[in-house]
């Protein structure tokens, strides 16, 4: 069977089908290609649609999704965001394949050097805040009833306190009936920003944790069992009597899991909530580069395990159109975008953090000139 005989009508059906398939594929690829993202370095025509690409953390993905939806209606800029994880976001922004990255953790020194060498200084601009709730499975003890202090929590995760009726836990919870049960410690099996914030907190309040284990998206846990994602940890805490674990606040709220009240740096026992999370960055001294994880914050109303989620952008932009669209989008996000936070269980940025972020966005330049014109 050769092509000529096909067309001559020996097997016309197959020939037509093949030609049709090729035509469809060509048409699809032509439309999907769209316009190449060339870099015009002069002021563009106002009618052009700007497309931005971002990638990174999965934690803020629902919020960013909503933002970029709304922002497209307001400005016409189309933002495409891939939630591939904080590590992926850092890798992509370093490689320059995306216009902005997103991360729940601060870049390490090595990562920052690599990025600076490739495209210049990287800014960590805070967009929203999240908290980590400590959840447990104890019969008859509901949300907020269990009180824990930082050192007790650290020793539980270090496997130095192994039973629920240990003297130190009982001392904090006089009215509760704590069973003589092993504490099953649940952690995350996959690397994640949630683990980064949690281990950041433990490293701050426990010298031993800081030396033995450390602060990272994935660590060498002293024990016991790991779950995949927030769902995995929550599932295991629910199924193992006497388990303790940590999950994103939003996840704990939406699934009504019992969480503990933690003592913050001022001595108050605070349950995780959106207001208590935002309080972590209000009334405390924030650095200009905002590369601070605000765990164990000094604010008396704060919940101690809270942190920012950042957008990673280069300070020196190389494309005027995209750079302008980027700063405008970020400005909108830290002001108008915050109204969408609480409905999706994200803690809005407090005023202090917004002020710092504004200064950061103003410092983004194109060819030496600030891009933001507001």
């Amino acid at each position: 069977m050769n092509p000529v005989s096909l067309l001559r009508g020996k097997r016309p059906g197959i020939a037509l089908a093949l030609v049709g398939l090729v035509a469809i594929l060509l048409a699809l690829s032509a439309t999907a290609c769209g316009r190449p993202s060339a870099a015009p370095t002069t002021t563009p025509t106002p009618a052009a649609t700007v497309r931005l690409n971002g990638a990174g953390a999965t934690f803020p993905y629902p919020l960013y999704s909503r933002w970029f939806d709304e922002y497209a209606k307001v400005s016409g800029t189309l933002v495409n965001y891939q939630s591939i994880g904080s590590g992926g976001g850092i890798n992509q922004i370093t490689a320059g394949t995306v216009d902005f990255g997103a991360s729940d953790g601060v870049m390490t020194a090595a990562q920052q050097t690599a990025a600076e060498q490739s495209h210049g200084p990287v800014l960590h601009v805070p967009m929203t805040m999240g908290a980590v709730a400590v959840v447990y499975n104890l019969a008859g003890i509901s949300a907020g009833q269990l009180k824990l202090t930082p050192d007790v929590l650290a020793d539980i995760y270090l496997k130095k306190i192994t039973k629920w009726n240990d003297a130190r836990i009982v001392q904090l919870n006089a009215g509760l009936n704590l069973p003589n049960q092993d504490i099953a410690v649940v952690h995350r099996s996959d690397g994640s920003g949630t683990t980064f914030i949690f281990t950041n907190y433990l490293s701050k309040i426990s010298q031993e944790w800081s030396q033995k284990v450390g602060n990272a998206t994935a660590v060498n846990w002293p024990g016991d069992i790991g779950g995949q994602g927030n769902e995995g940890v929550a599932g295991q805490v629910r199924q193992i009597p006497g388990a303790i674990g940590y999950v994103e606040l939003a996840y704990a709220k939406q699934n009504s899991i019992a969480w503990a009240a933690l003592r913050n740096a001022s001595g108050a026992f605070v349950e995780p909530s959106l207001q208590a999370t935002s309080a972590a960055a209000q009334g405390v001294s924030l650095p200009d580069d905002m590369k601070l994880v605000v765990t164990s914050s000094a604010n008396p109303a704060t919940y101690p395990i809270a942190g920012f989620s950042w957008l990673l952008v280069y300070q020196r932009q190389t494309d005027y159109t995209k750079g302008k669209a980027l700063v405008d989008m970020m400005w909108w996000a830290i002001h108008d975008g915050q109204q969408y936070s609480t409905a999706l269980d994200y803690a809005p940025l407090p005023q202090d953090a917004v002020t710092k972020a504004e200064a950061q966005i103003r410092s983004i330049t194109y060819q030496g000139q600030a891009l933001l014109q507001q």
């Binding site: 590590g87 690397g191 990272a216 660590v219 016991d224 199924q239 009597p241």
Partner: protein, 319 residues
Amino acid sequence: MKSPGKGWRVLLRRPASPGDWLFQGAALLAGLSLVGVLAAMAASLLETARPALTAFGLGFLFSSVWDPVREVFGALPAIYGTLLTSAIAIAVAVPVSLGVAIFLAELAPRWLRTPVSFLVEMLAAIPSVVLGLWGIFVMAPAIYPAEQWLERVLGWIPLFRGPIFGGFGFLTGGLILAIMALPIITAIARDAILTVPPAQKEAMLALGATRWEAISRAILPYARSGVIAAGILGLGRALGETMAVTMVIGNGYLLTGRLFAPGNTMASKIATQFNEASGLEVNALVELALVLLAVALIVNVAGRLLVRRAVGRVPWGGR
């Protein structure tokens, strides 16, 4: 001189027409590209793993610490977990599969054979992730009471000592792997049993043996190497399985003989850590992948050689 039709010289045979040239060339290209892909995969894995190979040397296989913060990595608990869960899987799956194979080949009425064979093969079609979710929500909670009972009654044996983590651990991982290995072992064992000449069984029956005696003394010894090969191929499947095991094995990293303890296999360690890994951890994970690849290849090649010897051919390509 050998005729041009034998061995590799067949490639030198002059094709009859241009169409044959094209066909021969295309087929040769396809075959070589497959080998090329495997070689390229091994080469690129080696290249990416090199920093870890130089950093840890052979000690990688015997160290028990996996610390991304200090960048110290050791694979021993992962290797141990792979071997332990696979051993549990084979220990559970082979007797069950053998029973199913004997049933399908010898005992089942004709009208029942096709549906049951079909159902067993459908087990192989269940996606790994689906089986893993079923494991988390159904199997682990169901095994939990059994584990508690075993710990109460047999807890003095180190194998069954607590603490128990809600049904997540080596045992559940091994059982899920048994479910995944079952279809392939059944298929090959059944083929092996079907190759036994009927005369063997008939002779035993003629001598007055019961059905069980005929099967156990005439058929099974004859089909033994085929059944062993089936077990090895099932083992090969169990070694590489990732998603289902990752979800139920509990992600612990201790070397312990306790069946109810949470553990890790090489595949599950890579699957959980790779996404957010950076720096030396990436290289260490790729080195782990190399170890897994080597183990899986050896087991699969051994299995296939045995199967060919026992059954005369490799049935349905296997996995």
